[in-house]
């Protein structure tokens, strides 16, 4: 979008630097996306006026623009994510409420919303008998892939030097937050301690990948195993298991090991492990193999790309 920067700010070329600043501030109030979360057009307007202001706020670049040395687009800003894009996410850490207590009667839910609102006000201005829960502390913890998939325990060292054991639940996923009750800051005036909130990021694994509760593995097999079929050993997150490769298997075929994925808490069925086969050529092609395939090729014309080439043209 390349509009005249003066026009974007509602000004003319004769505007003073002060007028530019004033016009920009006025437009920021009406167009900043974070001040108008419901206004879908705000982002585009804000971008336009921010770009215009960037160009004109500096008398030097303004002079170059006026002289026609640079155009109105100037330098394109990188894609920006605004705060409002996150504000309504379920896990937004800046929403201090802990969700509706109890449930059922909608009237109770509204009462709860109002109660929490007034509670917040009272906390701020409470005079005598003041008691408040302690602050929550937020930590980042990188978890090894297998500990997240199978569950485990990790010891962490808090900034104050204290050591804390954290139980990683089975099937913990990337971005999950664990709440350790009472491990935050001390309360005020007899209030309860805050919580420790631990945000998990799962470290990638060289062999396993995860899709929800399913584990994905790419398994290399030899040409003879693919043609004749074979019993091979495949890794799973709980150790190696036997896997039967059917005769005539091909690269990209996916075999399912039922129940070998991430177990779910509460006795529900576990996820599966999906094994994708990948045929690999032998490290050394000897004469025997070369001679056999040379002969074999003469009598077995097959073009697996025929359909592909036809479809590519359609």
């Amino acid at each position: 979008m390349t509009t005249d920067p003066y026009e974007a700010l509602g000004l003319t070329k004769s505007a003073t630097q002060d007028e530019i600043k004033k016009a920009y501030r006025k437009l920021v109030r009406t167009s900043h996306p974070d001040l108008h979360p419901d206004d879908a057009g705000a982002e585009a307007r804000f971008k336009a006026i921010a770009a215009a202001h960037d160009l004109l706020k500096d008398p030097e670049t303004r002079a170059r623009f006026d002289a026609g040395e640079i155009d109105a687009s100037g330098a394109e800003r990188p894609q920006r994510q605004y705060y409002r894009d996150f504000a309504e996410d379920a896990g937004n850490p800046y929403q201090q409420r802990r969700g509706f207590e109890g449930r059922g009667d909608p009237a109770d839910i509204f009462a709860e919303i109002l109660r929490q609102r007034t509670q917040q006000g009272r906390d701020d201005f409470g005079g005598g008998g003041f008691a408040a829960p302690g602050p929550d502390f937020r930590y980042a913890l990188e978890v090894p892939f297998l500990d997240a998939a199978r569950g485990g325990e990790m010891r962490i060292t808090l900034p104050d030097g204290a050591s804390l054991a954290v139980r990683i639940p089975q099937g913990a996923h990337d971005g999950q937050t664990l709440r350790l009750r009472g491990k935050g800051g001390p309360g005020f005036g007899g209030g309860p301690s805050g919580d420790a909130l631990i945000s998990l990021s799962v470290r990638p694994h060289p062999v396993f990948r995860r899709d929800g509760n399913d584990i994905l593995v790419t398994l290399p097999i030899t040409i003879d195993e693919a043609v004749l079929g074979a019993k091979v050993t495949a890794p799973t997150i709980t150790g190696p298991v036997n896997l039967t490769i059917p005769a005539g298997a091909t690269s990209g075929r996916v075999l399912r090991l039922r129940g070998r994925g991430v177990a779910r808490s509460g006795g529900k069925t576990a996820g599966d492990q999906l094994v994708e086969l990948k045929i690999v050529a032998p490290p050394v092609i000897d004469d025997a193999l070369r001679d056999f395939l040379t002969e074999w090729r003469k009598t077995h014309a097959d073009d697996p790309r025929a359909d592909l080439l036809n479809e590519a043209l359609s």
Binding site: Y24, L35, Y82, P93, I113, Y139
Partner: protein, 115 residues
């Protein structure tokens, strides 16, 4: 894997943001980054939501010349607005799955309460 930004990366990505100011945002709890506890270099880690919030804070203080107390007021109002929107959204979703009669009754009650 979730990508967090370090303090240095945040400073590099937002022109005009100084370390002093970023530290002030953290100390006044206007932004709540995570702290590393997994043995890496100690310091703060910023989620995408924290990063966007720091950008908003910089916009408000630079473009609108808000000082710290005013910034606190604007932010508190903004957080309340988002909380209210989230509640409203939850109510709307709950109403949406109700029968037409119930929805009509709720609709009439809302129009009635506006006076």
């Amino acid at each position: 894997m979730t990508r967090h930004l370090t303090e240095d990366e945040v400073l590099a990505a937002i022109p005009g943001l100084t370390r002093t100011r970023l530290v002030a945002f953290i100390e006044t709890e206007m932004v709540l980054p995570l702290r590393r506890v997994d043995g890496g270099a100690p310091g703060h880690l910023f989620r995408q939501v924290d990063f966007a919030r720091v950008q908003l804070l910089c916009d408000l203080s630079d473009d609108l010349d808000l000082d710290e107390p005013a910034l606190g007021v604007v932010l508190a109002l903004l957080d309340q607005l988002h909380a209210t929107r989230q509640d409203l959204l939850a109510v709307t979703r709950a109403v949406q799955v109700e029968s037409p009669e119930v929805r009509a009754r709720i609709g009439a009650a809302i129009i009635g309460s506006r006076g």
